[in-house]
Symmetry: C2
Subunit: 531 residues, 2 copies
Amino acid sequence: MDLRLVSRLLGFVALFVGVAMAFSTPWALPPFGAAKRFETHGFFGLLGAIAVSLGTAAVLWRLGRGNKGKLYRKEAIAVVGLSWVLATILGAIPYLLSGTARGLDENGAPVRMNVADAIFEAQAGFSTTGSTVLTDLELPDLDDPERIPLVPRSILFWRASTQFLGGLGIIVLFVAVLGQGSAGKALMRTEMTGPTKEGTTARMQHTAQVFAGIYTGLNVALIALLLVQGVSLFDSLCHAFTTLSTGGFSTYNDSVGHFSSANGYNAPMIELTFIVFMILGGTNFALLYFVVVGQPRRLLANVEWRVYLAILFVATIVVAIAGRLTNDFDSTTESIRYSAFNVISVMTTTGFVTHDFNAWNNFARGTLFVLMFIGACAGSTAGGVKVIRPILLMKILWLEIEHAYRPSVVRPLRIGGEAVQDPDLRKNILLYFCLVLVIVVLAWLATIALEPDATWHKAELSSDHKLMDCAGAVAATMNTIGPGLGIVGATRTYADFTSASKLIFAFLMLVGRLELFAVLVLFMPRFWMKR
Amino acid sequence: MDLRLVSRLLGFVALFVGVAMAFSTPWALPPFGAAKRFETHGFFGLLGAIAVSLGTAAVLWRLGRGNKGKLYRKEAIAVVGLSWVLATILGAIPYLLSGTARGLDENGAPVRMNVADAIFEAQAGFSTTGSTVLTDLELPDLDDPERIPLVPRSILFWRASTQFLGGLGIIVLFVAVLGQGSAGKALMRTEMTGPTKEGTTARMQHTAQVFAGIYTGLNVALIALLLVQGVSLFDSLCHAFTTLSTGGFSTYNDSVGHFSSANGYNAPMIELTFIVFMILGGTNFALLYFVVVGQPRRLLANVEWRVYLAILFVATIVVAIAGRLTNDFDSTTESIRYSAFNVISVMTTTGFVTHDFNAWNNFARGTLFVLMFIGACAGSTAGGVKVIRPILLMKILWLEIEHAYRPSVVRPLRIGGEAVQDPDLRKNILLYFCLVLVIVVLAWLATIALEPDATWHKAELSSDHKLMDCAGAVAATMNTIGPGLGIVGATRTYADFTSASKLIFAFLMLVGRLELFAVLVLFMPRFWMKR
């Protein structure tokens, strides 16, 4: 393991984070229109965090002197895993230095975010999960006669920025550089056992640039569409950042529900705009590339993308019908409108909310719970296991059941009519689901053991819901959705949980985001030994 | 597919069931001490069912004329799967013909079991699950001044007999004949692709006889021990039948909790007796065979058995501590006593109850939920995935995480220090967990969709528990435990569920009992085609 090279590359990450933070500082200034008064805490909190980031970058760069410059598989994995950890730590600093309030205590005094809160919020950002511990984003400053918000706008901008950066990191690092774009990690594993060849590097750099360009282009398009519909520049930027990264942080307590007709917006149109861009955020970027270069048929013919749309469509209809029958909605139009938005928000692992889906009927809640695990397409910014894996799993199970009574018959696995050549594919797909299963079970047991029943009583809920609520929280963080069920449902936050649980959830977001292996290997002592 | 041979072998099953039913008839007669008055309904119900069984046997035998007499793999699988289905259908007839009451309606009138109830109860018997729809086993006959029980004793004996037969079927068919005894199906798959050779048949017949002998011997031993401790002959027989089969049907509403000090029994001693025999029921019969022939070290050195005992021990301690801390129990002695019995009852998939474990703290309930899926040892009468599979899964996951960064390193899978030679083992273990996962998710979604919230309201429970309760019911039936959590908790039954859900659960019991494949292949059209 060439730790020096790892250190040098992590130095770049720290530099990148520090520079990105600088873009949040202008929003502390009233001329930019987000802050009503100069946000002292937010501004200097960010400045301090920039200083720490740049200092860290310098130290890591220095430690990286004398590296051999050859990126082997192990180093690549270490860099990918550790860069998210480093970004999270640095990204948590603005929350702490600005003294942002998580909410109010029983006496009405602001409760500042502690280290676990800040780590949780930063990880929910970079992992594009969108879970939050901030109970009130619009809380007015209690000492201020002009009702200035207690959560600085500049900090909210940084919060949205972390999701933009997280999404960019996924697209560039995973999809472009590691070549998992065309049909998922399972199908196209780049062999990084040897040093990267010159030609490959150039091609990877080009792909990364193109994908980053598409990602940025889509963000710009959404910002423009939101501005046209009367959304402020600050809100347009923040919401675009958290839509295409399928993150789901909003600047309002009501999430996208804020853009209602009551607040003067053309709500159905804005929701439709978000729906289109959430679906795009959950689409394989390699396929979006083909659309850009004039081959839209590559997208339209893609099996995973078609199944992805089919599941979204069927789930919306089923949830709408169930919701209408159980009177969760007042009219058929509302049923379809709210089902579509929230089903798509959950399955694309965005996590925006326009209706309290936790209050829906149990069948709808159960369906959302399953959709959380499915997620969107491989090669997108979405989480979950990705649509291609359940497709392959069902095919594999079918083939293997036949194999149980006909051991001599070995049929190839086919996707879209073509036989898959990768001999390890079957094992890898099965392995992935088993790993998800084991992590979910262990995390669930840890959460129900560590989290006292008092958390539910404090939230005025019955602790009878604990088992399901913890399962919902594990699902919502590991699959990078954001809001879960029950105590962490659509209208609630993770603020009530203990620090121990918050750190477990932060770990799950990391594991889910990096598709398990890149994180889990970091915990193997043997991984760090010299080869 | 030689359907004639399948038909002939199923004829034997029908004959066997009919003959077994005859042993329940004496208990309808007062001289045998179980019934207070001649049980007309029970006696003639059984007689009618015997007639149907023997008639079915004759028809199937007749249809089987002209079979080629060669048992290929396909025929073997079809016979195994269908014999459970046939036994269930025939075994349900006594409940229907005797007009046994499921409970009382709101007016206090008995509600007779319908077809779904009878199928459910019969499947819970033959699959050795022990779930029940009978809400009151001790319900006195409303029209009778002498308070004769409404549920005939002879029917209760048949109910216990189905578990004895189910356990025997598993031991003989799966463990002895299909040779899954020594280290689980995954490790020792008998190749039945060709006709069975003379030598193999003789050896299999011998093994089957030996295993059936051990099973019967253990039953006799438990009966003797219970008689000595003052349990009636009827209760001793019924409880021994449902202990070694890890079934869990009792003849009392309070299950094994009936044998309390208040009722004049030495309760801790009786509970300890049950604990020992539940653990034996969950032990690999091939290992018990070695004990019988004087090689106990083969048992003591077995990795799966050691891990099985270790999990039982650790889970008992953990549940006892959690229960003591949360005041689920009144004293430390009680904590250990009740935790031990109910943890062992759940993990061996027996399902006897001495304490309402559904009322325990959430951590204990969550732990029981996970134990349900683990189950006991391969080659035993227990359900669940069996201890060996989670052991192998953890080893496989560890090896594969290393493989993720060192693709060139391929380490063999080791059990107890020895490398496993089966090249398909890794895939098969992963496959099994994925299949369990898919079936559980689909069954859970089906149950929450089909079962109305009104079921919970009728039981005076909040329908907020539906998602977790349905998961508990799926876990408790698929893993053949019996009682689950919430609405089907330790002190409740499955009576409130709709017929649709009951049939889903009956299917899950069958699937879980036969380890998935033997049932699922029956649903593949291609399976039934001629080769």
